[in-house]
């Protein structure tokens, strides 16, 4: 199943386990905020970039993925430039660049299903607190199943409202969408209960 931002390939990062990648990411992010040496932070940027490129993701998708964060980092740098110091701004931007590149690399190399399994596994110890990992897994699966259905519903509503000249009216688009979603939720819940799956 290849949905989401996952990019299928055979890089070393693809072969690593989801848990290991996420744990590594968390340790690194903590280290980047705690390490006092600016040199280490700056050196991490090209390293993170190399790791990102090692995933074999085409350069074009890299540009579309990173344009948004790059603009944001530009604004933050500008703020530091005006109200603070250049060195401070450069350090903050470098830290984010590394983290965003590495986090993107993890997302690009890990299928959504593997991440979902990781979440279920991580929630296991919370069972005594009333968290039920199976229910979380069911919610994830249901939501993923319904995203394309509701998006299609939304497309139909938009076409219908466009025919009435209401395509740009958020009320005319969202009210029917919300009511249809509530209706399908009730019907689906009735269907599940009628089959005796009451949890």
């Amino acid at each position: 199943m290849t949905i989401g931002l996952y990019h299928p390939s055979r890089s070393p990062l693809h072969r690593a386990r989801a848990g290991a990648k996420v744990a590594g990411l968390l340790v690194l992010s903590l280290a980047l905020f705690l390490v006092p040496s600016g040199i280490a932070v700056f050196a991490s940027v090209p390293l993170a970039f190399a790791i990102y490129l090692s995933t074999g993701v085409p350069f074009r998708s890299l540009m579309t993925q990173l344009r948004g964060p790059a603009i944001l980092l530009g604004i933050i740098f500008a703020f530091h430039l005006v109200f603070g110091t250049v060195a401070e701004g450069a350090l903050a931007v470098a830290r984010f660049a590394t983290l965003i590149l590495l986090a993107s690399a993890v997302t690009l190399t890990t299928p959504v299903s593997e991440m979902a399994e990781l979440v279920e596994w991580l929630l296991g110890p919370l069972r005594p607190l009333g968290v039920n990992p199976e229910k979380v897994g069911l919610s994830i699966a249901l939501a993923i199943r319904f995203v394309p259905l509701i998006a299609e519903e939304f497309r139909l509503i938009r076409e219908a409202q466009a025919a009435r000249g209401l395509a740009a009216n958020p009320l005319a688009l969202i009210v029917p969408l919300v009511i249809r979603t509530l209706k399908s939720a009730d019907e689906l819940a009735d269907a599940i209960e009628a089959r005796g799956y009451e949890a």
Binding site: G4, L5, Y6, L25, S29, F33, G68, P69, L72, I75, I76, F79, H80, F83, G84, L91, A92, F96, L99, I100, L101, L102, A103, S104, T107, P111, M115, A116, V119, K135, L138, S139, I140, L142, A143, I144, F146, V147, I150, A151, E153, F154, P170, L171, L173, I174, V175, L177, V178, I179, T181, L182, K183, A185, L188, A189, I192, E193, E198, A199
Partner: protein
């Protein structure tokens, strides 16, 4: 309704998370006098709290945020993945479930007197107040900005957010009148 999350709750939570994703397909629109485009994202947060209550609304938004973290490009503009949570604006997104909870809690407590004006006030308290209360200090901390600078940088989004709260209020009031909602929440 039991204290636990029932099957019906799970269905509501999952479908509202999916709805939140679909709402993000509403293209960002530019209002003449505002410097930044308005995206529909926090509209979904406000609506979840206002329409399916505090607990289910917050869990629906939490589920949505989780789906984004798992690698689904559900944020406006097709963004998503773990990188969102390591960027400077992560706090605003992590605030969303809390925002939905606050809006939902206020709505539940005042359900007998809800109208568009109350919906607007509660949507603004949750969807603007709570989101900025968490998002701005987070931004200041991770981007090493002063609290004041971070707040100034975020201010340009407030007019758009107020418009969204108004839109959410009218939607919530219309839905409240046309579909039985909160009976199921208790």
């Amino acid at each position: 309704m039991s204290q636990d999350v029932s099957t019906r709750d799970i269905v509501y939570i999952a479908l509202f998370a999916a709805l939140m994703a679909a709402i993000n397909l509403v293209p960002a629109f530019q209002v003449g006098f505002l410097p930044v485009p308005i995206t529909a994202q926090t509209l979904g947060v406000m609506l979840a709290g206002a329409l399916i209550g505090a607990k289910r609304g917050a869990l629906a938004i939490l589920l949505f945020v989780l789906l984004v973290a798992l690698g689904l490009p559900l944020l406006s503009g097709g963004h998503g993945g773990l990188s969102v949570f390591f960027g400077p604006t992560a706090g605003f997104i992590i605030a969303w479930p809390f925002a939905a909870y606050v809006t939902g809690w206020l709505t539940e407590k005042n359900w007998h007197r809800m109208n568009a004006v109350w919906f607007f006030i509660f949507a603004a308290i949750g969807g603007i107040g709570v989101v900025y209360l968490i998002g701005i200090p987070w931004l200041a901390m991770v981007a090493k900005l002063s609290l004041f600078d971070a707040a100034m940088g975020s201010l340009i989004f407030v007019p758009g957010d107020l418009i969204k709260a108004a839109v959410a209020a009218v939607i919530a009031e219309t839905v409240r009148r046309s579909y039985p909602l909160m009976q199921a929440a208790r």
